[in-house]
């Protein structure tokens, strides 16, 4: 395959297996949201489902870490999330403080306990 053809193939793959499988959920969301009120029971339930899925993503990214993050020991990753959570709860419920504390704990933990 020539360089130009494989480059074109990469863009086709981006549309077919990257863009469409993600975007189709957003289009379906537009269809399903028709006629729904924001404070209706069904929207409350759907928001609970979205929050639970997101929580699942958070936990899975921490426990089954992708790429080089997997080289940081699992107890260090879990402790870093816990430290970030405590910093968030006790220091003005600030997202910035929580993220900074969690990141700092991860880097220090990786340096001390091996990365």
């Amino acid at each position: 395959m020539s360089a130009a053809a494989s480059e074109l193939g990469a863009y086709l793959a981006l549309i077919l297996v990257g863009f469409l499988p993600s975007e189709v959920w957003r289009w379906l969301g537009v269809v399903f949201a028709r006629g729904l009120e924001e404070d209706s029971e069904i929207v409350m339930w759907v928001r609970a489902v979205a929050t639970a899925i997101l929580a699942g993503v958070i936990a899975k990214l921490t426990i089954f870490a992708p790429g080089v993050l997997a080289t940081v020991p699992t107890p260090v990753r879990l402790a870093a999330v816990a430290i970030g959570f405590l910093a968030f709860m006790f220091i003005r419920r600030s997202v910035f403080v929580g993220v900074a504390a969690g990141e700092l704990a991860l880097v220090i933990g990786a340096l001390v306990f091996g990365g």
């Binding site: 928001r47 936990a59 968030f88 990141e103």
Partner: protein, 242 residues
């Protein structure tokens, strides 16, 4: 449509949404996350234009990480499509719960396509927090401003990360990948004012990894349906007791 007054308030709402991204912690998180995604695309041999286009079109961090690493490793197209599709199931309930906030009487469905495309975790969390303070007729423009602001930040970071790739130390790359779960957790916590939100978060945190550990297929979808429904039932039960 209704004269210069309406259109100038639309422009103001767009600018307000765009401006809100600068004070949002998500801009910094997105910047870090997309530095990591740009570097990943470089390491798997994609071009900088491809990486940029994937950020604009896919616009979902976890889906892009899967797309780049699976395609780059030579996975079959159908497998990659299924993995990307499963990781993006969460976009459906996010769009369904956000759009009712945007709609005003007479809103056309196609006006909602752009805000739906911009829907990702960052946008969803900030939209649920900021939209109720906006007049309803300005909310679509506000959302589009928010989405454009985040999109420009992430695009800049994708290109920056692509060219930084060779110079990033591994611990730095690990810290950038860690940004996504930590920031998702903190921002969801901040938005969790009701018992319903807190329970959904807690149940999902436990069920997601548990279902994955037990090898349940479509584990994220099930952790959402089971965890979200359980949280909703507890909420209804408490309301009924009042």
């Amino acid at each position: 449509m209704s004269g210069p007054a309406a259109s100038s308030s639309t422009v103001h709402a767009f600018v307000a949404g765009f401006g809100a991204t600068w004070t949002s912690v998500f801009s910094y998180v997105l910047f870090g996350t997309y530095i990591g995604i740009g570097a990943l695309a470089h390491d798997f041999g994609f071009s900088v234009w491809w990486a940029l286009l994937s950020t604009i079109l896919v616009w979902a961090g976890p889906a892009q990480v899967i797309l780049i690493s699976a395609l780059g490793a030579g996975g079959s197209l159908i497998e990659v499509a299924i993995a990307v599709g499963l990781s993006s199931v969460r976009l459906l309930p996010m769009v369904v719960s956000m759009l009712p906030l945007l709609k005003a009487p007479g809103t056309r469905a196609w006006h909602l396509l752009l805000p739906a495309h911009f829907t990702a975790v960052s946008m969803w969390v900030e939209a649920l927090r900021l939209l109720p303070k906006q007049p309803r007729e300005n909310r679509i423009a506000f959302c589009n401003g928010l989405g454009c602001g985040y999109g420009i930040t992430a695009s800049t970071a994708t290109v920056t990360g692509f060219y930084l790739a060779a110079k990033l130390p591994p611990l730095m790359s690990a810290a950038l990948l860690f940004l996504t779960p930590v920031a998702f957790l903190m921002s969801t916590l901040r938005n969790s004012r009701m018992l319903l939100d807190r329970l959904s978060l807690a149940f999902g945190l436990v069920l997601g990894p548990a279902f994955a550990w037990w090898g349940v297929g479509l584990d994220l979808m099930w952790s959402g349906i089971v965890g979200g429904t359980a949280a909703y039932l507890v909420h209804r039960f408490r309301e009924a007791l009042r």
